[in-house]
């Protein structure tokens, strides 16, 4: 999980945001308006089973809204926009989620009387069954639980019908955020009816049947065409769904989403290209939401593959990339320049973390320092990603001036995944956002030895040591010190060329309000409203 592929980042950056939200309201569910919101997505979800699904952005966004997540991020306001507040993880379907004094054991208390669509009450047994299932799946949740010292089902204990304990191997500052993305619950009583000896976790049933009990329940799903969500009136926590019905239709072609939005047949288009969005800004009845996002665009350089195994060659490329030109021409000015490999807005960001500017003379000098006057390499990007292609062409043209000749290599998803696994791509464009807004998580996924997003194959003993130390460092000031040092090291080693952070753009009908920008990339549809 973690970092979203480039082509899907737009789709997921569906934020959510909030003009009509009732931030801080508590207790009972509001009576959702009788209004209907129509949203177009690019593909139908591949499965309803979150534990066993492939990496499917549409599915992951839907899960966030239809599974009961026991804790979730709050909402905060930044520069007039509402965004998910990753420093505030609050109970939603749960009553409380609190750590012990040593922060190793977290106690989850459930609200009484919360029900799934089947009528079964949500109890500690459901939490236990769901977490046992996640460990058995050995997929996403099991993967992220490792980072907070949860590796065995026995570490999740039922105390009573409404209390569950999570006994971590070590205290971790990441726990609230990791649980915010992992603590979803199945209706285990219903599931057991469909389990068999050969299929003890009812995989077959859950692949075809939507989960229930979240902010919305799926009332209708027409395979490949449309999914209808109805607000769950039994939701007991804060910030219930603001719209009664959401109809999600599948429209793969971006041009068709644009046409339907213009014609008023949909209210929100989640798969429109940047070029179409730029045009839509001037269309009557449509507005384009623009919000600062934590989506990062970078070129990862393989530090173990010649010629980029020489730090001076990496510095040469870092000086040869036309950062401002890319922001202006590829993103139409709608992106933020950044000065660190740690994303803007992430706690600990240091503006001295990437001291490289576009300067062809400096690039030539760096190449000379490496004992080279010219080098050749391939630059890999995703074959279906127009933005990456435009970016690659600009980089190719400027890098040539510094003596860096790049061959552009678009790769299909499976070949790209395999070559990334083999770590044999000298240069590749990456884009996406981290699902947990924290440097420890970023190190775990991108900069320590063996990390799966570490396509650069980068290792540094001091970073490894800081990463180990950060596991059990829960004091915020101490963590900030660690992150400053991390950025100094990354500035010297330059494993990535960090290009920019494009803003999130979403075209909607004028009547739509309530977006909250999601820092994990998964839209919270409950905040959305429409007056249409």
């Amino acid at each position: 999980m973690l970092q979203l592929g480039g082509s899907v980042a737009l789709l997921l950056a569906t934020g959510a945001c909030a003009a009509g939200s009732q931030s801080g309201s508590s207790g009972r569910s509001a009576d959702p308006a009788a209004s209907t919101l129509r949203i177009a997505v690019s593909s139908y979800l591949s499965s309803w089973d979150q534990d066993f699904v492939g990496f499917d952005p549409t599915a992951l966004m839907l899960y966030k809204n239809i599974f009961p997540y026991l804790v979730d991020y709050g909402v905060t306001e930044v520069s007039g926009s509402k965004i998910l507040d990753t420093t505030n993880v609050m109970p939603t379907f749960a009553e409380s989620f609190e750590p012990s004094a040593d922060q190793k054991t977290w106690t989850l208390k459930l609200r009484k009387g919360v029900k799934f669509a089947s009528g079964n009450e949500m109890t500690a047994a459901d939490v236990k069954w769901s977490k046992d299932r996640a460990f058995a799946a050995k997929a996403n949740v099991a993967g992220v639980y490792r980072t907070i010292g949860l590796t065995e089902p026995d570490q999740v204990r039922v105390v009573d019908d409404y209390t569950v304990e999570f006994a971590q191997a070590f205290p971790s500052a990441l726990t609230p955020q990791i649980q915010a993305i992992s603590l979803y619950v199945f209706d285990s009583v219903e599931a057991k009816k469909h389990a068999t000896a050969a299929d003890p976790w009812a995989q077959e049933w859950f692949a075809k049947n939507a989960p229930t009990g979240g902010y919305f329940n799926v009332t209708k799903a027409t395979q490949g065409q449309e999914i209808v969500l109805e607000a769950n009136k039994g939701y007991p926590g804060p910030e219930p769904a603001q719209t009664g019905t959401i109809r999600i239709s599948v429209v793969p072609a971006a041009a068709n989403q644009r046409l339907q939005l213009q014609n008023g047949d949909i209210d929100i288009a989640l798969g429109v290209s940047r070029r179409d969005i730029a045009d839509l800004k001037n269309v009557d009845g449509i507005k384009v939401i623009s919000a600062a996002s934590n989506d990062q665009v970078a070129i990862q350089m393989s530090v173990t593959t010649a010629p980029f195994n020489d730090v001076n060659v990496r510095k040469a490329l870092a000086h040869a990339v036309p950062y401002e030109q890319i922001i202006a021409n590829v993103y139409g000015g709608d992106a933020r320049p950044t000065s660190s490999l740690v994303p803007l807005d992430m706690p600990g960001y240091d503006a001295n973390g990437y001291p490289y500017k576009y300067d062809i003379e400096a690039a030539r000098a760096a190449l000379a320092a490496a004992g080279q006057t010219s080098i050749n390499s391939e630059l890999v990007f995703a074959t279906d990603n127009d933005t990456q292609q435009q970016l690659a062409v600009l980089v190719q043209s400027e890098a040539r001036k510094a003596g860096i000749e790049l061959k552009l290599t678009p790769l299909d998803p499976a070949t790209l995944a395999e070559r990334r696994q083999q770590k044999n791509i000298p240069l590749q464009i990456t884009s996406g956002q981290l699902w947990v807004n924290d440097v420890e998580y970023m190190l775990a996924t991108s900069f320590v030895s063996g990390a799966n997003l570490n396509y650069s194959n980068y290792t540094n003993p001091e970073i490894e040591q800081i990463y180990e130390q950060s596991h059990t460092t829960v004091d915020e000031a101490a963590r900030r010190q660690l992150w400053t040092r991390v950025q100094q090291i990354l500035a010297a080693d330059v494993p990535w060329v960090i290009i920019c952070q494009p803003n999130f753009n979403l075209p909607v009908r004028e009547e739509v309000a309530g977006w909250v920008q999601p820092m994990d990339g998964l839209a919270r549809l409950r905040y959305l409203t429409t007056s249409g």
Binding site: S46, N263, A451
Partner: protein, 336 residues
């Protein structure tokens, strides 16, 4: 009886052909670069996660064992489990094949009728203005990429004129059509759901038109060439010289003789139409077999790729078989 024996013999010949396709596809899809397990796990999965997933899909087994398991499944109609969705491939095929067949059959039928009528009409007026006009239109139709044509038809038919529904599916979900075959028109008839029938028909107009325009051109040119050949043949000239009525000449001598070539051509066109549906389905949000097979290929979803190739091969063989039989019925010189 002779035709039945012929059909039986051809169906038996299917077995080695399909077996060859099964073996080749099984091997080729594994030779392609790309790891299907990595595409489903997401980037932060560890090697243990990948190993667990491989075990779940039987990909940790030796190749010969995987092949035997696959073959055993095929015998019972089980195409395996999709790596992307975790669902049964057989069930997914059943959902996807109906809509695509409906689209292709309607498009090919429409293209055939148009090609035969216009092709013969054009040949009878060879080198006159009407003939030139039709040939130019056919050339233009042949030159237009289906993707572009689809977008233009949507822009005009849906956005500008507002005559057709939005390209976001095959039938209005509010009609509550119960899927049986997956072909919405057929399902609407079977369930006597007339609002769904109207909606499905309206949704079909533009995609069928797109596909038909693209495939009609080569058909039309062949029919015209065939008709010209007949018009210049000794038999036709002799029949004309005997003073047969124009209608008899047209129906009995020209049309029937020209139609002799059509079954083989139609079979070829049917195959290329299945290929064209990949883009047409994308443009019209059709969610049929073409999109499903393409996604399977992009993500190296072995069972999906294997199933889609086997089904396309099966469709080809069956369509050619039908074409041969029809050819034999139309052409008394052919003995089967």
């Amino acid at each position: 009886m002779r035709i039945l024996r012929f059909v039986g013999r051809r169906l038996l010949q299917l077995i080695p052909v399909l077996l060859g396709v099964v073996v080749l596809t099984f091997l080729l899809v594994r030779v392609l670069p790309g790891d299907p397990i990595r595409t489903i796990l997401g980037p932060n999965a560890t090697e243990e996660d990948a190993a667990a997933a491989r075990e779940r899909f039987g990909l940790d087994q030796p190749m010969w064992k995987q092949f035997l398991d696959y073959l055993g499944g095929l015998v019972t109609g089980d195409f395996g489990t999709s790596i992307q969705s975790g669902g049964s491939v057989t069930a997914e095929v059943a959902l996807r094949i109906g809509p695509t067949l409906e689209l292709v059959v309607l498009s090919v039928s429409l293209a055939l009728v148009v090609a035969v009528v216009l092709g013969i009409w054009s040949a009878r007026r060879a080198n006159r203005a009407g003939d030139h006009g039709i040939r130019i239109v056919a050339l233009v139709g042949n030159s237009m990429p289906e993707f572009w044509l689809g977008l233009v038809l949507i822009l005009v038919g849906y956005s500008v004129l507002g005559w057709f529904p939005a390209p976001s599916g095959r039938v209005d979900p509010d009609t509550n059509l119960t899927p049986i075959t997956g072909a919405d028109l057929v399902d609407a008839v079977l369930t006597a759901n007339w609002p769904a029938f109207t909606s499905a028909a309206a949704h079909l107009v533009l995609p069928v038109a797109t596909l038909a325009v693209v495939i009609v051109a080569p058909l039309l040119r062949s029919v015209r060439a065939s008709a010209l050949e007949v018009l210049h043949s000794e038999a036709y000239v002799a029949a004309g010289a005997h003073g047969l009525r124009p209608r008899t000449l047209l129906r009995g001598y020209l049309t029937r003789a020209t139609m002799v070539r059509v079954p083989s051509l139609a079979a070829l066109v049917f195959g290329s139409a299945i290929g064209s549906t990949v883009l047409v389905e994308y443009v019209y949000s059709w969610q049929g077999f073409g999109q499903w097979a393409l996604r399977g290929l992009l993500y190296r979803d072995y069972p999906v790729v294997q199933a889609s190739v086997v089904i396309i091969a099966l469709a080809y063989v069956l369509v050619f078989l039908i074409a041969d039989v029809v050819h034999a019925i139309l052409d008394p010189r052919v003995k089967i």
